[in-house]
Amino acid sequence: MTVAFDYSTSIGPTSLPNPILTASGCASSGKELAQFFPITELGAIVTKSIMLKPRSGRATPRMAETPSGMLNAIGLQGPGLELFIENDLPWLHQQGARTIVSIAGETVEDYAILARRIRTQPGVVGIEVNISCPNVENRGLVFSCHPDTARAAMEAVRRNVGGDLPIIAKLSPDVTDIVQIARTVADAGADGVALINTLLGMVIDTRTMRPRLAQKTGGLSGPAIRPVAVRAVYQVREALPHLPIVGMGGISSGQDALEFVLAGAQAVSIGTATFGDPQAAIRIKSELEQLLIERGFSNFSDAVSYAHRAEQ
């Protein structure tokens, strides 16, 4: 059965052939997954958050499995901006992949520099601004947990990136009022928001009787957090109906992805599910398409926010 289904979507000025993205930090820079499916078939590859300088990340153990989820404390291990531009981006560009680069800073100035360097790289179709990072200039408080620092980081990026490249603010769910933060970053010039990053969690090893992770706390991801993520997407969509949303948090099937789309996501990112199934993203792409067609949608955009429609 061939159905003329329009799967395309857009995030601010960028349009994508389909709404399925990888989640930052869960697909590295695409090379490792390329063995399992053609990465060009995804809407875009969102790369692991890149920082200015090379970074070792945290000590091990860095992870613990939890019920329907996992805790991680990778600590943004990565080669730093220049090696990333030298090695990873050209490879992605050469494959023909659309790339959304996730950037992470320790200071507001870091974000500005990262954005300026990334914006001109070929193949880059967007910048995801991971502001769920500790601000070294302000007692290590996470940028996205406070309106002022969230705004400062986003303004720094916006000043350095023209209107042709969407900038997407990635928010932490560990806040009293995520709508307030979303509104703040939208005011600061974000073209969209990515919801949600991990929740802060801890596992205690009952054998050693200490925190399992070397870093003590870590970020909770996976199906366990899906209801929190869907709620965040729904709330932000309701309050800010025109702000594009990239939804994520525990998506491991087309059904799960559909929840986010109905709640208001223009695109969805597949994170932890890839660890359990390297083909998760491409599988979810076809599952979601099938579900939308079964429900009578002829294009993806009509399904976005459909759960918000008025009661009959």
Binding site: M63, E65, M70, G80
Partner: protein, 285 residues
Amino acid sequence: MSSINKRAKQISAEIISNKKVGAYHHITLTVGEIAQLIKPGNFVAVAVGGEDSRMVLRRAFAIYKSSMDPLDGGIVELVVAPHGSGSKWLCSAPIHSMIDVILPLGKAFGIPVNPVNALLVGGGYGSAPLFGLAEALKAKQCNVDMVLGASTASKIYAPQEGKRSTNSMIFTTDDGSLGLEGMVSSVIPEIIEKNNIEIIYSCGPMAMLEAVTQIAAEYGLQHQCAVEESMACGIGVCMTCVLPVRGEDGIARMVRTCIEGPVMEGSDILWNTGRKVPSEVWGAL
């Protein structure tokens, strides 16, 4: 396509045998043609728990043996310790059930071009990949000695047929229930000297690998060890499985053991860094 994971495939494999052997389960899977691509030291990553499971991560298992069977086609054999929920699920998987497996993964043991005297050291189920290695070494006319250690006799995995490719095999157990009482490291120096060992291969608990590394260094021997770090994905995308490893340029980096390992040169590893990233590591915080 990338060169990472380049021979790996995600397949649905049938469990055709699942037998308790001592403290372990010996599990056989049919995997088809891909069995031919497997080298000693490679591992598989298995999805555990079934559809409604709360376990979301794969589990890695060393490949004990791979072969082309006239009846079953390509088969792969694993030796699994029922430890936590994932391995217990696998150990209790019924025959004929299908499991989702990615293989072959990781770097294999390096096989010398010319015959050498090799010592293979295994701890617990860490012996599993050593038997295939022994065969490969034997095929190169190497002299192969093996030392296997465990806490107790039931945790020594050493099937009769496995001994075919070895010249000698020594057991040690903490409780003395099999072979010599004590740890493998206590018997290694003597074997090195007596048998004129030129290379050591090892697989087992990290503390054992570290001890073997020290001995290898004392004797100035090459030492390839298969490490075992917590792995969430097994294919290089999660960065959970890292170890601080010194590269050829002398710089230590946090390296993914799933794709740059599990087999690594023991002396390159910065062992037992006490839940801290050593300051000399590239990009250390």
